[in-house]
């Protein structure tokens, strides 16, 4: 089966945070960017906006880092999720993630994107296509770092 994951084009991100609004509203039933499973790193003075979200790595370092086997990668879909029952919010996975994609809430709870069951709300609400959800084969997953390099070229 074809696996789907996120593609990020940071140069298109306007920093509007609509993705965060939709995510927290859908998953947490409140409006709160601090509890959204996608985060935007805002470098306002430089006009740079970087969306950070789980890219469902082929070999996720977070899984290796977790001592409680709480991070799981689904073999069929390829999606990486955290089992809330097993997780004790130790944040080892947060340190391991190369994409700053794992969220720590103000209450020190660890949150990870679960792609809304295959229909991510953040993608639906992104007005510029800065974040897209598509077949993994269409590109290299995890281009956030590359986008940053491209942007600094100007």
């Amino acid at each position: 089966m074809q696996q789907k994951t996120f593609f990020i084009r940071a140069e298109f991100c306007t920093g509007c945070e609509m993705c965060q609004l939709a995510c927290s509203l859908y998953r947490e039933r409140e409006v709160n960017p601090a509890r959204s499973r996608i985060s935007i790193q805002r470098v306002v003075m430089d006009g740079l906006m970087f969306p950070h979200i789980c890219l469902n790595c082929k070999e996720p370092p977070c899984i290796k880092a977790c001592r409680r086997q709480a991070v799981i990668k689904d073999k069929e879909t390829g999606w990486v999720t955290i089992d809330g029952e097993k997780c004790n919010n130790c944040k080892l996975c947060v340190s391991a993630c190369p994409f700053s994609a794992i969220i720590v809430t103000p209450e020190q709870e660890v949150l990870l994107c679960d792609v809304c069951g295959g229909n991510p709300k953040c993608v639906e609400m992104c007005p510029t296509g800065a974040i897209q959800f598509a077949d993994r084969d269409r590109g290299v997953a995890g281009p956030t770092d590359k986008a940053a390099v491209d942007m600094f070229k100007t």
């Binding site: 140069e11 306007t14 920093g15 509007c16 945070e17 609509m18 609004l21 939709a22 927290s24 509203l25 859908y26 947490e28 039933r29 409140e30 409006v31 709160n32 960017p33 601090a34 509890r35 805002r42 470098v43 306002v44 003075m45 006009g47 906006m49 809430t105 103000p106 709300k121 639906e124 609400m125 007005p127 510029t128 100007t154």
Partner: protein
Amino acid sequence: MERLAIIDLSTEQVVCRDIPEKVLRKYLGGEGLNTYLLYNYLPQGVDPLSPDNILLFGSGLISGYDVSSSRFEVTAKSAEGEGGFGTSNSGGHWSAELKFAGFQHLLIKGKAARPTYLWIHDGEIEFRDASFLWGHDTYECQELIQDDLGDPDVKVAMIGQAGENLVLFANIMHGLKRAAGRTGMGCIMGSKLLKAIVVRGKRGLKPHNPDKLMENYKNHYRQITSTKIYPVISRYGTLTIFCVANQSGTISVKNNQYNYFAEAEGHLDDEIFEEQYKTKTLACFGCPLRCSHRYRINTGPYAGTWGEGPEFYMMAGFGPAVGNADWDCILAANTLINRYGLDVGSSSGYIAWLMELWQRGIINKKDTGGLVLEWGNKEAILALIHQMARNEGFGGMIGQQASKAAGIIGRDSGRYLYVQRGMVHETPQNFRAARATALGEATGNRGSDHLKGRCALEFFAMPPEVLEKIYGRSIASDLKSWDGKAWMAVWTQHFTTVADSLGYCKFATIWPGSTHNLGYRQFCETINTVKGWDVTPAELMETGERIWNLQRMYIQRETGVLRKGDIPPSIYFQPQPLEPLKGEKLDHDEYDRALDEYYEIRGWTREGAPTTETLKRLGLNKEPSHLI
């Protein structure tokens, strides 16, 4: 529960109050509740720059909850003009962040003993020393505050040097370009020695019905992004208005002497900006319209200058209004204005006026301290901006005196300064041919206010059926006709007031002439989902009317200027010299009749004061009611 923080800078004490639901429903938030608080808390007859004046910050009622609802309102007794109703609206990320930090409204009184900034985070308010920020422009100020607090995600509303130096038309700035302009709110903030208000919040907003809100959110997003205006606004922002306004003869050229600027053709337009200067597009909180454009000037004398903006006002105010057709100069001026925290409309208005005085030989090098104020002289334009903000030389005098400068210069110079309610007329605007807009702007409570009075649908010659469907009454399609225009102005003023009270950006509503955008029905959907109320469009319309009338009561109490303040500047009554719309002007008798009709619709006396019955009908007869 929405909360108000009453912050006393003199004693460094804070009192928090819950806003009772019945007050919230009557005044919503943002501009509405600010008006209520101003009317209730401001002691009568105080000097605007004294510690007794109060400065209000208010997030919109649904700010943070819906698409394009990112606006906050700043209100105080006006510094610019006759000391009337001072209010201004700004977008950005500050408004939603204030809500996440646990407050909807801030009431600031007193005066700090030393430069201070407020650090508001998760329900707490700290007074912090701002001595190290004093004297820094807005760009530097933000970076210094981020360093001071060790948090790159703080949102800052601040003043630049213009506010510190008490320039009467100083702005409160947020981010790199977002500004609460006109009526000198930055000057009031400077008079309190308050440099900045920094917010950061991680508290969630809990809507009454989250599932329904998600649905509304999606629907409103789809609605906004499927309008015809969306691709244009998201690409060019308000710059797109420029060519249309110029080519239809509704622009001010050389301080309103002409109404079309031929030199602009091929030099000043939105596409040139996009191709040559734009580097990045950014957006306010939750807004798909993304109208903030970063730019950089790569060649010429201003090479290396960068900034964010510019809006139509910048382009027209520092373009045709001062006889300049050079994009580089406009952008360089834009960066300066934003860094200093000056108001675009007012500063370009005064510069245009001074240039006309120079043209007529009323002032010369002796008055200006050596500046040559010929039309389009770029160095002089930029020098005046520097002087105004730093309170130095000739420009400094203008900044400190505003419209009173005419009295200081003397020599009949006041004849060419177009003022309303003591404030300089918004420069780029020249709407004498458009009747509803002329009336709506002139009767705006802060005076000469396109944000309340611009009836955009008037310009598109809409079929009468469409107009009747929107406005509920018959209105002439022709912009030069007066038929139904008084009602159009009243309707628009109520609508914009409601939008500002809720926190919606007016560009996401039907206000800019986009009939399929958000309107009262969508506002009600969101309010009811968020608050669990049963608000109807009729109730919202009445709320708009209530807020408008309370503002009028405030003006009556503080200035006593009613009908006399509702007349457009004198230039509107003189014919336009150029095609298109050559010879158009307002007629005194016709305007008076329209004003009578406008007062009658509002239930006001012929002098323009709300009658007792009107106040009773709107539940205003017991104001000030001191319910918060």
